[in-house]
């Protein structure tokens, strides 16, 4: 490969985000949506969760995961608009989708920073 390309890297982030979404989200939904509210498991208390979120390693892991999830959603939504809805304004769609992912990543950073 003579030229450096961006597309393989975007795909790698998309792919990693897909794995994260498939593995992490169902377990989080199970824990915080069913297991804790229905009392199957004892929920961690607020102080404990805040301490976990405030740890630098958690900060990096959560930020990385959310950025990948956002890239994944942006990429998938972009192709849904291209192929599913047959929208022809490709550049606009790409800018809007990936732009939303960038804004979301910024928001993630702000939320995590506030918790840390």
């Amino acid at each position: 490969m003579s030229r450096r390309r961006v597309q393989p890297l975007v795909w790698l982030a998309f792919s990693a985000g897909g794995v994260a979404a498939a593995v992490l989200l169902p377990s989080l939904a199970l824990l915080f949506g069913l297991a804790f509210p229905l009392g199957w498991l004892d929920p961690p208390d607020h102080q404990h969760l805040l301490a976990v979120v405030g740890h630098p390693v958690t900060f990096v892991v959560l930020l990385g995961t959310f950025v990948l999830l956002l890239v994944h959603s942006a990429h998938r939504f972009r192709y849904t608009l291209y192929d599913g809805l047959q929208i022809k304004k490709k550049r606009t769609v790409a800018v809007l989708c990936y732009g939303a992912a960038v804004v979301g990543s910024g928001a993630t950073l702000a939320v995590l920073w506030a918790a840390a």
Binding site: M1, S2, Y79, D83
Partner: protein, 249 residues
């Protein structure tokens, strides 16, 4: 079981017909008859003007692919009784220009196929191995690529692929599966050359992993997996290109 079934066949002659139209034929419904047998009955006994491709009648040659009831199928392996009571619609393979009736123009694929260099590339071939000596492989080395070598170029995967339907520039499932077949061959050294072709904008990243190619393949090749493997291979090479100095790659 009724003794006949109706075929609803797409007829089209681009030079005289403004657009394709349907023509219906009743053919004998026999347990062992395939859609291709029905079409041959029409051709031999009813209407000699009907055009379609076929050759081996046993799923080897890959020439009798058509859309049967909307689904890309080898007509020699599609039994009429499975589509009873009918009518059974028979159309040319989707996503290809029609030459006449059920015959499609494959020149697009024929131009794309050599681009992925589907042959063994080995710079030392005639220095390390005499041309008339067998190049031995272990059963494990054969198994590595055997699945992908089963492709018969029947084009069902192209007819099923929505990406190819939307963007005819996309190099397509069978070509990529064949590239993977040679990449995985222990005798081959052409991986880099193929990757250079497949990483282009009309290459593997055109695929959105719908997976229809794998579902319709009559030879149980898995083109969707080949494409995913290529995406990962290309991504890893790109990461290496970013991280490593030129000499270490």
């Amino acid at each position: 079981m009724a003794d006949s079934i109706r075929l609803r066949v797409s007829r089209y002659r681009p030079d005289t017909d403004p657009e394709p139209h349907w023509q219906e034929y009743d053919v004998p419904l026999r347990k062992e008859w395939t859609v291709l047998d029905g079409l041959n009955h029409v051709k031999n006994e009813v209407d000699t003007t009907l055009s379609f491709r076929w050759s081996c009648r046993m799923g080897i040659c890959g020439s009798c692919g058509m859309n049967v009831d909307g689904e890309p199928r080898l007509t020699c392996a599609t039994f009429l009784s499975d589509h009873a009571p009918g009518p059974v619609t028979v159309e040319p393979l989707a996503n290809f220009p029609v030459v006449r009736d059920l015959v499609v123009d494959l020149s697009d694929f024929m131009a794309k196929l050599p681009r992925v260099k589907p042959w063994i590339i080995h710079p030392d071939d005639h220095r390390t191995v005499e041309p008339d000596v067998e190049y031995l492989q272990t059963p494990e080395q054969l198994d590595a690529y055997k699945q992908f070598s089963m492709c018969i170029n029947c084009m069902l995967c192209y007819a099923a692929c929505p990406v190819y339907g939307l963007d005819p520039e996309f190099i397509g499932p069978a070509a990529i599966a064949l590239a993977e077949r040679y990449d995985l061959d222990s005798r081959d050294r052409g991986e880099r050359e193929r990757l250079d072709v497949l990483v282009e904008h009309d290459g593997v990243y055109g695929c959105t992993f719908v997976g229809e190619c794998t579902r319709v393949c009559p030879k149980h090749v898995d083109p969707a997996a080949a494409i995913q493997r290529y995406k990962l291979k290309a991504a890893m090479e790109t990461v290496k290109a970013f991280l490593l100095p030129r000499g270490a790659r």
